[in-house]
């Protein structure tokens, strides 16, 4: 079959200016105008000279570490932001799903939000109307369709939101890791729907950390690293390169390359959710565990794990020093739970060390060996502020307010 072109990207680059960007005051702009010296801003290339072509009907997985430029690429393809350099040709209507429930309003009912969200995603009211029953059935919230969504549980909210987006019928569908929210069963349903879309000859671009999903769903892959394309081609090859060199949500060592000394060797580090499924990102209100598997090579030793948390901007957040019992030879697995509402919604890099604390002996320290992305569903915030919240941690503090006069 002679395939047609769906997307052509040529020399795409995107520059962000760090430091100056958020400070949009008139005074600073006027200041820049009148002073010749450059302000202390720094340029950061999120994407650099990226070129590729995607054929109609391809399902393409875009993979890379946190911060490799995946989201920036999707944002440019969905026209949310403009490239600094380069050119893109897109043949067909694009629908992008970078977040479920964009524009949902808590005061409006489910029914009203379907219309609202549908038109924001580019459908006409008429199109929404013809799809309405399908959307409601898919979401499974029939009973509450005329209830304001502020009374919905976060699961219901996400289901309704995905149902709207899943029933769009664009020629090209661009999806960021939106499926991370929602329960397992619903995730399966969503993946089934995406498979369905792909089977109908439509083009899908899909960003995910979930290698399993990517391999089952996608036929082609693009591997990004530090804003450039490392590899492009058949998904199996891409995934192999990624897991060999770039994967950072978990780490497995070959037997003779394991870090450690003659007392302990580290086999594996990964992150799990409360049901001990392996994950790469966690919701801000969800606990997660750092799981290490290691081999103890001597009897009567006491090597204990410690974890070093850093932000993506290299701020040292904290160290968690754990205790352990006296161990005998054998292979162990330790899970350390990080409570919900401790970390902020950003990427963290975690270093793993094993030490015997009594004589301060460091058996191994793998710096920033894995990363975790903390995500947040803003609709379930308990306060009304909707903007970004800075800080290396984000504890959920309680206050007692009493009238005293």
């Amino acid at each position: 079959m002679n395939k047609e072109l769906a997307i052509r990207v040529e020399g795409l680059s995107k520059k962000y200016t760090i430091g100056k960007q958020k400070d949009g005051s008139l005074r600073s702009s006027l200041g820049n105008l009148f002073s010749l010296k450059n302000s202390n801003s720094e340029n950061f290339w999120a994407l650099k000279d990226v070129s590729f072509e995607i054929q109609k009907g391809d399902v393409v997985g875009i993979i890379g570490k946190n911060g490799a430029g995946k989201s920036t690429l999707l944002k440019i393809l969905s026209q949310i932001t403009k490239p600094t350099k380069g050119r893109i040709e897109i043949y067909g209507r694009v629908a992008s799903l970078l977040e479920v429930g964009t524009g949902f309003h808590p005061e409006l009912t489910g029914r009203e939000n379907i219309y609202l969200n549908g038109t924001i995603l580019g459908m006409t009211r008429k199109e929404v109307k013809t799809k309405f029953d399908e959307i409601v059935a898919f979401s499974g919230v029939e009973k509450f369709i005329d209830t304001p969504v502020k009374h919905y549980s976060s699961g219901m909210y996400v289901r309704l939101a995905f149902a709207v987006a899943a029933n769009l019928e664009p020629e090209i569908l661009v999806i960021d890791e939106v499926l991370a929210v929602g329960d397992g069963e619903f995730q399966k349903k969503c993946l089934g729907k995406m498979q369905d879309i792909a089977n109908h000859g439509r083009t899908v671009l899909f960003v995910s950390h979930d290698i399993e999903t990517i391999t089952t769903l996608c036929s082609k892959g693009i591997l990004l690293d530090k804003g450039t394309i490392k590899e492009i081609g058949e998904i199996q090859n891409i995934v192999r390169t990624y897991t060999d060199h770039y994967q950072d949500s978990f780490k497995i060592w070959e037997h003779d390359k394991r870090p450690g000394d003659n007392i302990i060797k580290l086999n594996k580090v990964f992150i799990v959710d409360s049901e001990q499924n392996q994950i790469y990102q966690a919701n801000i209100d969800q606990k997660f565990g750092i799981c290490v598997e290691y081999e103890v090579l001597e009897d009567d030793v006491k090597p204990a794990p410690n974890y070093h948390f850093f932000t993506n901007t290299n701020t040292y957040c904290f160290v968690a020093i754990l205790d352990t019992e006296i161990l005998s030879k054998g292979i162990y697995r330790a899970i350390t739970w990080v409570p919900p509402h401790l970390l902020n919604n950003q990427d963290y890099r975690i270093g793993v060390a094993f030490t015997t604390q009594k004589n301060v002996h460091i058996h191994l320290y793998e710096k920033e060996i894995i990363s975790i992305k903390i995500i947040e569903n803003k609709s379930i915030r308990k306060h009304e502020y909707g903007g970004a919240i800075p800080g290396t941690v984000r504890p959920d503090l309680k206050s007692e307010i009493k009238k005293i006069n």
């Binding site: 960007q21 490239p83 040709e89 309003h105 409006l108 803003k378």
Partner: protein
């Protein structure tokens, strides 16, 4: 088949009206959302929205009508409510539209649609309040036994011009606020000054009579000066607005069209700044 070219080098200078039209349903849905949300609010909140203009109206009428003794063609209260109705609509739309892009930043960062839809959609919800004020105006006209002038058919035209003026100012402010957050503080300032430099509680001739010719022309650089004067003339008749009135109308067009162009210029980068 829809084909789209995104090119960093070339950028259109003319706003894309065709695309705007394609998204007309979004305009309707957003307008209707604002309407629903406004009326889903508590009745106290709604009451508050009316209390403020009503008190302003009474104060203006007391100060200008009683204390200063401004002579008007129709009873001063009626005279002022006519001006206030369209002025309040203007300031409501300007403020909401001016703040709209910042208020919708979550949406802007996550999905593409013509950004202009957001400030434009703010013009509709204000019409409800305007309608209620006009109803009070009509009741007062009946109470005072005032017959509308023969130009009353022009009243909707002046409301439309008022809407365009409000959107012009709102579009400018919404685009400027994205880059320079300071502009958020400009709106209350404009509203406060505007209340006095617009002929709301006094006839425009009061101002122009006191001023030299060139300064009178400056007075009409305020787009709402002509709109308020024209609207009131269409209701109550009297002396037709003079030549300077056209200065205001031209200003409305300049404000609106330049706003469209400026907005278009910064539209592409909005997601990076909000």
């Amino acid at each position: 088949m829809q084909t789209k070219i995104i090119d960093a080098e070339s950028s259109r200078i003319i706003p894309n009206f065709k695309e705007l039209y394609r998204y007309r349903d979004l305009f309707l849905t957003l307008s209707w959302r604002d309407f629903r949300v406004r009326y889903a609010q508590t009745s106290i909140g709604l009451l508050w929205a009316f209390l403020q203009p009503v008190i302003t109206l009474l104060i203006l009428s007391l100060v200008f009508g009683r204390f200063v003794g401004v002579k008007t063609l129709v009873p001063h209260l009626l005279f002022t409510i006519a001006g206030m109705s369209i002025w309040t609509y203007f300031s409501y739309v300007m403020a909401n539209s001016g703040n709209s892009i910042i208020a919708s930043q979550e949406m802007i960062k996550k999905i593409y649609f013509p950004r202009l839809i957001i400030p434009l959609s703010k013009a509709v919800v204000g019409l409800i309040d305007l309608g209620i004020t006009l109803l009070i105006l009509i009741i007062l006209m009946i109470y005072y036994g005032i017959v509308p002038s023969s130009h009353v058919w022009l009243a909707p035209f002046f409301i439309l011009v008022g809407m365009i003026a409000a959107l012009g100012a709102g579009i400018w402010l919404s685009a400027l606020t994205v880059r320079y957050r300071d502009f958020q503080h400009v709106v209350p300032f404009i509203v406060q000054i505007g209340l006095y430099i617009t002929p709301i509680a006094y006839p425009a001739e009061f101002a122009t009579r006191q001023l030299p010719k060139w300064a009178a022309a400056l007075y009409y650089l305020n787009p709402m000066a002509g709109v308020v004067q024209g609207f009131r003339w269409s209701l109550f008749g009297g002396e037709a607005p003079g030549n300077l009135f056209w200065v205001s109308l031209v200003m409305v067009l300049i404000l609106f069209i330049s706003g469209l162009f400026y907005f278009h210029k910064v539209e592409d980068d909005m997601a990076d700044y909000v």
